[in-house]
Symmetry: C2
Subunit: 292 residues, 2 copies
């Protein structure tokens, strides 16, 4: 459900390994996939994978496993249209960025959801064409269905771990995004030039500290040194503009409400002050309103 | 010294009242003033005022009173070239925005400086042409020369107060500027649209609180309710873009180092944390570097 780059990649890998997969997505991709299969381009192979595709949520009917990979801002809408078609025994795994999708989807569906965290670099290179740049590991939460799900992914060549701390993994990704996305969006600068700016490393440390304080207050254990992890991103991707920067430049709605926005909202709810995340959120919202 | 809008306005008012005045400024204004006098345009009158004008600091030779009104970033440079021409008994009054000009100028000159704070809306409307939009009050610090200076301004129709808290007045102006200038510059939005942004009023309260904490630590007493004073600005000037926004749009160097920058530096020196001012400073610096 939500056949963007992540959905197409993992769905394609499962289908390639012989699983029966249906991608539910936008017409342009669905039409191309029906016509010529899903083009799955990786550094190791470039194949056309045959699988089902549909624009309609009822295509999820009868599924044993639903991989939920819509954008964070679409979680409620997509959950609602999906809900009536879910079999009672279906397992649902979120494969999204943002820390609160599992709880938001569970609330909409009125049932348990298995949280997932995705470590993969993929993009849609064209209609029905997913391009893989690197990594592919998954971690999913502990649930009765988790072992069977993990077995299916392992058979398909996807490394997967069953974790008691998926929330920590989702927060670690969120924190790095909070440190880069808004700053890159506001300045329209790539990560390398960003961190070379006077005062920016100190600002990034402030952002990370605020996020960690909110995570702690929320009872989430974030593992590893998040300051070092954050610094590494600019070193490994100096030319990268954040997705938020790209959305803003194209006049599209950004995911900022599920990045710095979620830190601010959870901070408010938990009594943790997040002034730096708050000013970044407010600035991106203003620029978004101005550009749309 | 520094015949921009403020220097031309107060110099012009003194000359109009019969005082002998020399404006030291840029060639375009000096040439126009030598040719046709200073055009002093207010809501009450529009006159050509005859006075001396020069591009050279030695024109300050023999002055009893030097009004120092260069931009904050030029204080040291202008002070150094002025210094050899100052009579021993000359009084020097800073008429600048920014809180640390009096101490910076005193350090360069190696002598006492009378701090001043200026409440006036003026602009240079063209070469040698200053336009007055409203107010004109001055406050200057207590010093042996202060009564004579005050008398000269009062004769010229300029309300002036001798104050034991000029620093408080300078900080009050700084705080309002810290709340608006960077936000308007980063978003290129006028004050009315700025404060209508989600989260912006809370961000402005954060900025004001940080500034007040630094002022307190610096031993400065800021009078009045700065939150209310800040809110009023957007109500009275909804269409206004900050000078920092205008500088940035024109690819000019901004005064941000003497606005949020001074709060950050003084905060660091005094052990007061200023994370919101710091992120705004860093963002404006990045945008400035990008636009120049």
């Amino acid at each position: 459900m939500g056949a963007g780059a992540i959905g197409c990649y993992y769905g394609g890998m499962l289908a390639r390994a012989g699983r029966e997969v249906t991608l539910i997505g936008r017409p342009q991709h669905v039409e191309a996939i029906r016509r010529a299969g899903l083009r799955l381009e990786t550094k190791a192979f470039d194949e056309r994978v045959r699988l089902q595709a549909s624009t309609e949520p009822q295509a999820a009917r009868g599924a044993d496993l639903v991989l939920f990979s819509v954008k964070s801002q679409d979680t409620e809408t997509a959950g609602k249209v999906l809900s009536p078609h879910l079999a009672r025994e279906a397992a649902i795994v979120t494969m999204q960025n943002g820390v609160d999708n599992p709880e938001r989807l569970a609330a909409v569906l009125g049932r348990d959801v298995i949280p997932g965290v995705v470590y993969v670099a993929v993009e849609m290179a064209g209609p029905g064409h997913v391009r893989h740049h690197g990594r592919s590991e998954l971690a999913i939460g502990q649930a009765p269905a988790s072992e069977a799900i993990a077995a299916a992914f392992r058979e398909a060549g996807v490394p997967i771990e069953i974790s008691d701390n998926v929330a920590g993994g989702l927060w670690a990704k969120l924190i790095v995004n909070c440190a880069y996305n808004a700053l890159s969006a506001i300045t329209q600068l790539p990560y390398g030039r960003l961190v070379a700016g006077a005062g920016i490393p100190a600002v990034m440390r402030d952002i990370v500290e605020e996020c960690l304080a909110v995570a702690r207050a929320a009872g989430v254990r974030v593992e590893g040194d998040m300051h070092k992890a954050t610094e590494r991103i600019a070193q490994t991707m100096p030319g990268q503009y954040s997705s938020t920067a790209q959305d803003l430049a194209r006049g599209k709605q950004t995911e900022i409400d599920y990045l710095n926005g979620v830190v601010v909202r959870k901070g408010e709810a938990l009594g943790v002050s997040t002034p730096v995340n708050r000013v970044l959120l407010a600035l991106v919202k203003l620029l978004e309103a101005k550009s749309r």
